[in-house]
Symmetry: D2
Amino acid sequence: MPSPLEQATADAFTWKVRVYWEDTDAGGIVFYANYLKFFERARTEWLRHLGIGQQQLRDDVGGMFIVSATQVNYHRPARLDDLLLVTARVREAGRASLTIEQSAWKLPAEGEEPGAAVCLCEGSIRIGWVQADSMRPGRIPAQILSALSGESLDT
Amino acid sequence: MPSPLEQATADAFTWKVRVYWEDTDAGGIVFYANYLKFFERARTEWLRHLGIGQQQLRDDVGGMFIVSATQVNYHRPARLDDLLLVTARVREAGRASLTIEQSAWKLPAEGEEPGAAVCLCEGSIRIGWVQADSMRPGRIPAQILSALSGESLDT
Amino acid sequence: MPSPLEQATADAFTWKVRVYWEDTDAGGIVFYANYLKFFERARTEWLRHLGIGQQQLRDDVGGMFIVSATQVNYHRPARLDDLLLVTARVREAGRASLTIEQSAWKLPAEGEEPGAAVCLCEGSIRIGWVQADSMRPGRIPAQILSALSGESLDT
Amino acid sequence: MPSPLEQATADAFTWKVRVYWEDTDAGGIVFYANYLKFFERARTEWLRHLGIGQQQLRDDVGGMFIVSATQVNYHRPARLDDLLLVTARVREAGRASLTIEQSAWKLPAEGEEPGAAVCLCEGSIRIGWVQADSMRPGRIPAQILSALSGESLDT
């Protein structure tokens, strides 16, 4: 029977993130807004893995992604030095927006039980496409939509 | 008839936030995760306005707020030098968690129409209370709940 | 005899900054890199006080400031909820670069001795001027140089 | 004859950093304060490479590093999607403080000349050691000093 982590990463792109001082706050834990940064790193690396560079796209077609909605539930905190696994997978894909399902897991430290991964938070990010100069919405380039949909997503 | 901004600020605490370089990204706009920082500044100033200091509380009772869920819809981007008004108001208050409804508005620049405030984003933040050392959930101190509920909230 | 704070603020622009959760790290103190943000807020507000908007300048003349060197000595840490006073004053002004002397002070909390302000850190920031599209260096607009030099700087 | 990058990395620890949206500002480049984060990631990974975990150290001996001075010269900007190489090497080591020499380089993109690495910025970071609860200075644990000094530093 698949573990929760195995279920979360099935058909998902995954990216490892290390927790540094910059990510933490005086509560001794990762500042909650920073998980949105971790989620975005995973989306960016996913696009890169598919051969899509965002700076390149902007130079070429003048457009960029913009986040239109975020929703995150926080279950457990991460701390300095923790190694996280961040997942990303398409939940819904339309011509003008994408909804990406994402989660962050704390990976077991060396010597800990491999199955001991803990889900820290999970949520969904809706992104649209805009012209960079005018910020007017447009259609997501077909190249990106087909890459995200057709991909087997195993890294 | 009240304007959208008047409706949003009725019975709400409000706090002004200026957009600096640190808040923006290469898209030329405020990085979306940073609105969570702006929302938190407003919540913190609201507590301060009610006589509640979070560092003091932690020193005194060993507890602190922790964010358990965030949900934000982004409508329009803010840019460098914009002056924002951030609102905060209790939507639900329980013994162990509070849900705060928040929004950020771009205020008209000098010489612009006063009614021209634009809603940039809006959402809700659910916060719980934990013991700082163990991160175990606990009841929100009665002092805080009554202050947040009994307050007329006009600044 | 003037106090250290009085000496630091003589002929300087000053700007108050409150420490929020976002500014702190797991050491329980303000993350040192964030003082550079506080310093920049003060420089930006100084320009604004002189009638200079950076977004406006960029739209009008296509140029922007860029930081070319920073040097900061850290003496004492700030904590959540502390109220800081940040100073800024021109040390050297040339046609292509400006060196700004800055410091951050912890202001006494309510009920504390007014003279108890503590210098948290101090340093200097050298800034140049570039064309925003090419990043090529250029002369700082005369309007800015004369405003910064001719100003009596008392707020 | 060694290239500038080869000279910079000789006897230095190196760590790769990718530029994400979160690192950039409305100038279209990496916000200068964020290089201090990149430098710290390299120092942290260096310690980890030497078997030293900072969270573990704090749990075990109650102490932590604190930055007491930073000095950075910025030569060229980095942009979204750039891949950087960050270096770290001991310049001076005393019982109570360490000065670390650091630099960030833009690595050539695929298809570019390998020798085309460009130095973006360089500087030095002085760090001391404090008791985490009192923030009082103390001696850097001998374990860390000998590890940093005795190490050949090739990764």
